[in-house]
Symmetry: C4
Subunit: 275 residues, 4 copies
Amino acid sequence: MSEIKSKYENFKQKAHIIIYGTNTVAGRLFDLILLGLILLSVVLVMLETVKGFDAKYHAYLVFFEWVITVFFTLEYILRIITIKKPINYVLSFYGIIDLIAILPMYLSFFITGTSVFAVIRALRLLRLFKILNHPQFNNQSTHLKESLIASRGKILIFMYFMLISTIIIGSVMYVVEGEASGFTSIPMGIYWAIVTLTTVGYGDISPVTPLGQFLASFVMIMGYGIIAVPTGIVSAEFAKNKPTVKESETKVCQNCGSHEHYVNAKFCQDCGHEL
Amino acid sequence: MSEIKSKYENFKQKAHIIIYGTNTVAGRLFDLILLGLILLSVVLVMLETVKGFDAKYHAYLVFFEWVITVFFTLEYILRIITIKKPINYVLSFYGIIDLIAILPMYLSFFITGTSVFAVIRALRLLRLFKILNHPQFNNQSTHLKESLIASRGKILIFMYFMLISTIIIGSVMYVVEGEASGFTSIPMGIYWAIVTLTTVGYGDISPVTPLGQFLASFVMIMGYGIIAVPTGIVSAEFAKNKPTVKESETKVCQNCGSHEHYVNAKFCQDCGHEL
Amino acid sequence: MSEIKSKYENFKQKAHIIIYGTNTVAGRLFDLILLGLILLSVVLVMLETVKGFDAKYHAYLVFFEWVITVFFTLEYILRIITIKKPINYVLSFYGIIDLIAILPMYLSFFITGTSVFAVIRALRLLRLFKILNHPQFNNQSTHLKESLIASRGKILIFMYFMLISTIIIGSVMYVVEGEASGFTSIPMGIYWAIVTLTTVGYGDISPVTPLGQFLASFVMIMGYGIIAVPTGIVSAEFAKNKPTVKESETKVCQNCGSHEHYVNAKFCQDCGHEL
Amino acid sequence: MSEIKSKYENFKQKAHIIIYGTNTVAGRLFDLILLGLILLSVVLVMLETVKGFDAKYHAYLVFFEWVITVFFTLEYILRIITIKKPINYVLSFYGIIDLIAILPMYLSFFITGTSVFAVIRALRLLRLFKILNHPQFNNQSTHLKESLIASRGKILIFMYFMLISTIIIGSVMYVVEGEASGFTSIPMGIYWAIVTLTTVGYGDISPVTPLGQFLASFVMIMGYGIIAVPTGIVSAEFAKNKPTVKESETKVCQNCGSHEHYVNAKFCQDCGHEL
């Protein structure tokens, strides 16, 4: 009896290494299969919404969707079984994502599904962000994250400034242009202000009165100019964080401690000592 | 009698600290309530312009608007009473904003208001810019401001160049495209030039003749290329101002407390004391 | 007789200083009046093309245009008289601009003018670029110019790359989308490619087939991504030219020659010597 | 007999220098003629697709196309003959391009050509990228390439993040907006997300529901903000690679000729010799 239990414990341990770890060959293979199935699953959800394709191949799409759902269900159960504190996983961000991504298929037995329902499965995609924590990408994405976090304060102030500006611009344009031009309310004016300031410019609403076009010109130039602000903030941050990152790529002299040698330097540039 | 006066004086002093100060708990709370009411007021103005919503809930909107107007009226009176030189406040930028933001509601008794009138209340929003002077944001926003001020000269020259360019491009396109394509006048051509150069591209006016499209291509590439100029100016300025900001990376003198020394500085630049 | 000649010589000399010079009060005033008249002239040309305005005030517009033309004619004659080698001025870029900007009004006696003809007067605007050579702006605009010239090589290569890319993209989209979507020829496809790559996006032509939209997505992402290239080039150039400019703002120690002190530093950070 | 062979060998050698080399006058001239003919050929392909032009001058276009095809056929044969291992050329990227660019004209005898077929000739354009390897441009384009390669890792992560984001945004907007607004499927939603995130903004599909416009506003601001990321990455990389480029600002060792020392280096990093 205890032998079965020990075998089960053994299986749990191995499964844990494969499912949660990334160091073994099996663990990496598992991650790759998972990645492939997530992508396949998302492609299936997409194709289901393309009317022409769905009409022809609906049966195939449903079949593959079931195969994937069963696999992810097994994975979900295994993740719960093989972890010490299952509640930690179940209530974690990815645990919730995993659950609500497999539910729609099972619920489709009871509720004749709306497309809204099926699309929830696409949330599975969020798991792909996990990959950025892999040691391989970690170095690069850490630098990216650090730079963005460091410039957070300035970017928030910039956003605050943008928000107030769009409300004021939207209100003014609502008054100037009026409903005839599509500026049917202040929120609509704000929507237009954002479309214009960000230089997207759909053209679904655009000023038609001379005064409106004159004001819009200023908004456009403002949008064109202030894109320099977030860009400048982030650029400066990237440039600033540079030395910290490249540290490993410069040689330090053992004799005088001078650093900042090129990686292929053979002698210290300050004392002439061999590196 | 003088007791009442002294009590009044006492009240004035306390009210002054709460209304104008930001150091006491009451002062901060007052600022937060103000912030909330300004946002609420702006949301009310917005919702009034949304036809469907206004039709249903007009009475509620008017009621809340009156509550807010009364509060801001009291605040306006308090600000005048509790300051030493009321004229300074009344004629200041924010004093005028405060006044013209409460007037529309009172004037609505006499004049059956146009929406233009009501929208003026949204100007209240400008007060939110004041927050950027709070010590909490001051550090970040000062750096932003300094960088923008430092690059002012170059940006003005850039704007001047842009202005002349848009007039010339607008005139040429007016001649090339003519009225059939929507280029009904030179100002319209300039409007198009700005829409295009800033890469907004509504598409309300766009060239249709081969020559016009050929010229427009150059304008687009020019717009795409010269966005590098303001971005480059601001980026360089942000990078330049860097040392002042990275407080933690500068050495502080133990003798005189002067900071802003380079990390490799050996002596204080203000008192000559060894660091 | 020689007295009249000497007086004329005297007048020529004075006029030369006023017209060509910028150091005297009269010279600067002359430049300011010129600036104002050029702007007024351009506004007149613009207003003439606005149908509604021109219909009402045509007589006034023509009158003012004649006043300006007479002034610029006098200026043109004076510039020729007061310069030593008139041919140099007449054949210079600005000499030609000056001439062809006054001609349309005189020619309007003989030829009943098309608007094309009148618009030529707007070329006068090009003279405004001259202002950037004024010593006041020279410092800033020189830095701008130098940075752009220094990055010329890289920008040309980038443009070459862009040009070939747009031709290839335009050809592919012509084949994929065909005439039904508005891609009526390869040049039209190239026009679309430029509109898309520069993120202008009028929407006058846009892909409608799934394959076309798929390819267009890549083109958009490419355009969004490669805007980083000119921006990066110019930013790096601005940052690179920085030291040359800021040199004057750092203090150098007289004792040990260490530089990089803040302008308000009082002691050398390397040897402690008073600055 | 062997004389003829030796003459042929001699011709092959000379032809090889002209066709493959860039150091002789003849070689450069050959490159220039090639460049001109490629451009002419591409212009011909373009003009053929312009209906109005093709209708008038079809015979001329075909004639010139044949002249060019014959020239490129000869060039192709010469390239095969004069190289030692012809298979290397034939199977190289440019070898394949050369072949498939001359085939359409010959195949037009047998197959009455669709325009798709003719457009293939425009691929010839890809050969123009070869020019960037010329020593004249090499310096600049190497720096560009190096910077882009160095920032490859961060840009890939950014692209990965963008890809997942667009799929999620596209799915959400498909559910929110539905088919009435043009969001007919998730791939269509993704297409819209890319059009919006890249700030292209055709306006062929744009949200019409208040919730959709609200969400779209976030997407636009996100797109406007994250353009700072690739720009920041590339800018920092350009600035970082700076020393390698500013040849004149680096010290060169008199002993071993090694360059790339920092300006304040005192000893050569390769041989230890005093600088």
